[in-house]
Structures are given as C-alpha cells and as structure tokens.
C-alpha cells in the first residue's frame, strides 16, 4: 500500500500551505481590484455587499481546491507509479473541480447586471490556482512531473 518514504508525508502539508498562501491573498487582495470596476450588481445591492458575498463563497472554494490537491497527493501515495504518472487523474480532478466551482458560482453568487465574464475568470483562478500550487511543486518523486508545468516550477524551487 504505502510505498513512499516517511519524509514525503511533509509534501502535502507544504502543498496545502502553498495553495492557501497563494490562493487566499489572490482572492482577498487582487480579485477585488479586478472585479470592482467591472461588476455591476443587481439593483439594490451595493458593490461592497456583492464583493463580501463573493469572498465568502470563494474562500470555501479555495479551501476545497486545496482539499482536492490533497486528494491528488493521496492518489500518488497509493500508486506505485509503474503504469504511468496519473496525469489523467490530475487533469481530471482539476477539470471536475473547475466544473463544480463554476456550478457553485452560478448557483450561489448574487446575480449581476454586468461583469459575468470577469467573475467566471476569477472563479476559475480560485478553483485551479490553489489546486495547482498544492500539487504541482510538491508531488512525490514518482509522480512529480504529472502536473503540467511542474518541471519549470520545480526549477524555480
């Protein structure tokens, strides 16, 4: 079952911290600057209230995105890596979570008059960036090149 060195158990933890460390500042500091000028909430809702509701939902999505990263780590720990590097699983998890995040945004975010495309772009960033940060640079050696761009990322590391 578990065929990895014990020291590799630290990798998911670092991945989680990296995912949250990048995802939350982007959500709290960068995205309001992007969304504020493009979003027009429905009549009766202030832009501040809309952004607050956006942040509440997206915080949950960032945390879930990191959790999906942990799922990826779990699958790499359980797999010996002899029949491929599970890239398809990594891509599949990302796509599935992206679809879930978009569905959540459509269902739960207050509707707007303008700025839907900007919102969906931010939702995609919030869904994928923490997952990517949690998984790309901190995957165990046997699957370390499965995430796209991990080679370049690891070079920076």
């Amino acid at each position: 079952m578990f065929n990895k060195p014990r020291s590799s158990l630290a990798l998911p933890v670092i991945g989680v911290l990296a995912g949250l460390g990048v995802g939350l500042p982007v959500l709290y500091f960068l995205e309001p600057l992007v969304l504020d000028p493009v979003v027009s909430p429905q009549a009766g809702q202030t832009i501040e209230d809309w952004l607050r509701e956006f942040r509440q939902l997206e915080t949950l999505l960032v945390i879930l995105s990191v959790a999906v990263g942990l799922l990826w780590h779990a699958s790499t720990f359980l797999d010996a890596g002899r029949s491929g590097d599970l890239r398809l699983v990594w891509v599949g998890l990302g796509i599935l979570f992206l679809a879930f995040a978009c569905w959540m945004a459509v269902r739960r975010l207050p509707s707007v008059q303008e700025g839907s495309s900007g919102i969906m772009l931010c939702v995609a960033v919030n869904a994928l960036l923490p997952y990517y940060m949690a998984s790309a640079a901190f995957t165990v050696a046997s699957h370390k090149y499965a995430p796209w761009g991990s080679r370049a990322l690891r070079k920076l590391w």
Partner: protein, 458 residues
C-alpha cells in the same frame, strides 16, 4: 568577476522592487485619505417632515357644537329623527368608550355660542325652543366657533351643521380656518350624513325663496348634515374610526380628513426598493459618510451614455385623507435639485436640467421614481448631490366623489326660478368649501411626501 559587476543587476532589481513597493503604499494611502467629506443631505434643501404623528391622546376634551339655526329644524321635525339624532348620540358614545379619559361640553350656536349644561348633547335637540333663535342670530357662524373654541392638543371640536353657506359665508369660514385652525397644524375631519327631513330650506334662487322639503322616509331625498371634527390628526382619525364602527348610516366613503400631512410615513432612500440601476453602481465607500437623520444613496456612474435609476417607495396615505392623483397634473411630477460637492466639502448648485430627467408614477399605492441620467451630456467629473422629491400641488390630490356629488354650486342656486325645483338632498357650495380648505392647508403647510437624497460620483 568583481563584486560590483556581480551585484549590479541584483541591486538594480532590489531598488526597483523597493520603489514599486513604496509606490503601491503611497497609492493605497492616498486612496484611503482621498475620500471627500460631504455635507449631510438635510443641507440640500428644506428637509421634509411629518407635522403630526397621528397618535391619539389618552385624554380628550370634546366640545360639541349643535347648529341651532332654523334650517336645522327640519331634521327633528321629520317623522323619524334618524340618523341625525343617532349620530349625535353615537358621537357621545365614542367619547365614553374610545378614550380612557374624556369629558364632553355641549353648546348650541347660531351667530352666538351658548353653553348647555350636562354631557348629553343629543337630548337638547328635542327641547322646546332649541331652534328659536332671535332673527338677528339665526345665521350659521362656524367661524365664531373656530375663533372661540379651545384648540390645543387634547381638545376635539365637533360641529353638527347643515353647512348651508353662500359664497360670502364660505370666504369668511375659510379665513377663520386659515387664521385659527391651520396655524395650529390641526386636522379637520368632515363626515357627511344624510337624514330624514321635514322643514324649510332657505335662500333658494336669486331672490332667496324658501321652500318645503319633506323626505317622507325616501332615502334618495334625505337631506345631508355634516359633522366637523377639528383637532389633532390622531384624535380626529380615532374618532372617525370609532364612529364608523358604531354607525351604519355613515362610513369612510362619506368622510374626508384634511390634515397638514399628506403621508403617514416619509419616503426615504432606505425604505425604497431599487428596481433598476442601469449604468449605476451602489457604493457605500464613495465619501466620508455624513451624520444625518435621513438616509441617502451613494452611487457611482459607470461609463454608459444613459444611466437609469428606478426605485419604488411605499406610499402611506393618511387615513380618510384625499388621495394622490397625478392624472390632472401637468409634468413635471418630480423635482430634482442638483449640487456639486466641492473639494472642500461644500455644496454648489449646478444646473443639470439637460442631463437628468425625473418621473414619478403612482402604481398600486407605490411611488415609482425614475431618474434618467444622460451621462454623455454630462461633462464634469466629480461628486454630485441630488435632492429628488415629488412635486405636490393641490391638483395632485383627489377629493372623495361625494364632496362634489352632494354639492350645488352658487350658479345652480341662483339659476333656480322656483323653490320646488331645488334638490334638498344637496348642499350649497360644499365642494367649493372642502376644496378651498384643502388648498389653504396645502398652501400653508406645503406638505411633502419625502425626499430621495442621492450622492453620485461621475
């Protein structure tokens, strides 16, 4: 490689990073401290107010005045004295039950006011000689009552009269209301009741004939008499509620309450429902919020050629009061005053007549304000303040239909050649009197429905 050559690009990068960081900090600091301070909305114009909150007092002192002129004699000479007698009796019952503490004082009046002992005023109308006033005093002088009756907060003045007034009497009566009742911000309730009648009707035609009128129990021919209730709106309204609960001969459809207020609750931004905000974004953080007892909207104009703001506010009409009806009023129904907020936080009037269009509709007891801003015609950037309020005139209100339906004009009266042709189920100049009193009230108090205060950043 020398140390200097090695450190050159790295130190440049560091310097660049520090500069960028500092620039961001400065921008953030400037952004925070750059919010303008704005004057509170009440500085934009005379703030609207409700004169009378419409609450009844715990204690009431009722002064009941019975018209004892000869034209009233017919109400008690009929085979049945109802509903005239019953209405006086029920009015007395209202004071016994409707207030925790009440006292009733009775008076009869013609040209002079005569106090009557006791609290059961209705018993006097049967008394021998009640209507036999000396000829010189046989004239209905309600104006005397208005001048002499105490009209402070807990007093309620009730006048039972047939209100048969020619044009000169109406003028005198309206002047009395203008001088004594209106300045005290009191309300006037008028209840019309039709009753059995057998007696003389005076002043018919140009030559002032008198003619007999006998209703013989025929409801269609019943002659109207009126009950005036003068006092605080809350007390007048409470009295009318209680009277209508007890009497089957009158009701809200035969009553009107003329009050210094045209709404029980003022229209305010916080009480509105925003329907459309096209090209506008509501933003709380546009300026440093002023301390104010009025709510206000703060909006930002987005880059559109035309912005639309449509809001809906509840219209809380005063009970029994004339209803709003703008169908006969020429535009504009809404008044928009605009100001620019200067950098030192002062207001400067600006003419944005070409830029801003305002409209107001009354739909299912909701006031729907529409503000269209032609942003492309609006050159100046900055922060602006708007005071939007309904434009009220006397024609903006509709009196109940009975006011006109029960009325005979002076021209109709003068045109009568034969006393028999007079319709005794109507009252001379009733509409002229009620509409005149309403106009006088509106002109004196200039009541408001409320105001929408907006701050707009362009």
């Amino acid at each position: 490689m020398s140390a200097g050559a090695n450190n050159g690009p790295a130190s440049k990068r560091r310097e660049l990073a520090i500069r960028a960081g500092l620039s961001i900090c400065v921008c953030i600091l400037l952004g925070c401290s750059g919010k303008p301070q704005v004057p509170p909305p009440e500085n934009l114009g005379e703030p609207p107010l409700v004169f009378d909150q419409g609450l009844s007092t715990d204690e009431v002192v009722a002064n009941v005045y019975l018209d004892a002129t000869s034209s009233m004699k017919g109400f008690v000479k009929a085979d049945q004295i109802e509903p005239y007698l019953g209405t006086i009796e029920k009015a007395e019952q209202v004071f016994a039950i409707g207030w925790s503490k009440a006292s009733v004082h009775c008076f009869k009046f013609g040209a002079k006011i005569v106090p009557l002992p006791g609290e059961s005023c209705h018993l006097y109308v049967f008394k021998e000689g009640f209507y036999n006033l000396p000829k010189s005093e046989d004239i209905t002088r309600i104006d005397e009552i208005l001048e002499k009756s105490p009209q402070d907060a807990k007093n309620l003045t009730l006048v039972f009269t047939d209100l048969y007034q020619d044009r000169a009497d109406i003028g005198r009566l309206l002047r009395a209301f203008r001088d004594s009742t209106i300045p005290r911000k009191l309300s006037v309730g008028i209840v019309g009741i039709r009753s059995n009648f057998r007696g003389k009707i005076f002043d018919i035609g140009a030559r002032s004939f008198s003619g007999e009128w006998d209703t013989k129990g025929n409801r269609a021919k019943f002659r109207p008499f009126y009950l005036f209730i003068i006092g605080r709106r809350g007390n007048v309204s409470h009295f009318m509620d209680e009277l209508f609960r007890r009497s089957k001969d009158t009701g809200p459809d035969q009553a009107v309450l003329l009050s210094p207020d045209v709404t029980a609750s003022l229209v305010e931004w916080s009480k509105t429902k925003r329907l459309i905000e096209q090209g506008l974004v509501e933003r709380r953080s546009l300026f440093q919020a002023p301390k104010s007892r009025f709510s206000y909207g703060s909006l930002q104009v987005r880059g559109r050629s035309t912005c639309t703001l449509k809001v809906e506010a509840d219209y809380a009409p005063v009970k029994y009061a004339p209803t709003l009806d703008w169908n006969h009023v020429p535009q504009p129904r809404v008044q928009v005053r605009t100001f620019q907020v200067t950098t030192d936080g002062k207001l400067q009037g600006v003419d944005l007549a070409r830029v801003v269009d305002g409209d107001l509709q009354l739909q299912n007891n909701k006031l729907v304000f529409t503000l269209t801003i032609h942003s492309d015609r609006w050159a100046g950037r900055g922060l602006y303040a708007f005071d939007v309020r309904p434009n009220l005139e006397a024609d903006s209100f509709r009196l109940p239909t009975w006011c006109k339906g029960w009325s005979v004009t002076e021209e109709e009266r003068l045109g009568l050649k034969n006393p028999a042709s007079f319709d005794g189920s109507k009252t001379l100049n009733l509409f002229e009197f009620i509409s005149g009193l309403w106009r006088a009230m509106l002109e004196s108090h200039k009541p408001q429905l409320g105001a929408l205060y907006l701050y707009l950043e362009k």
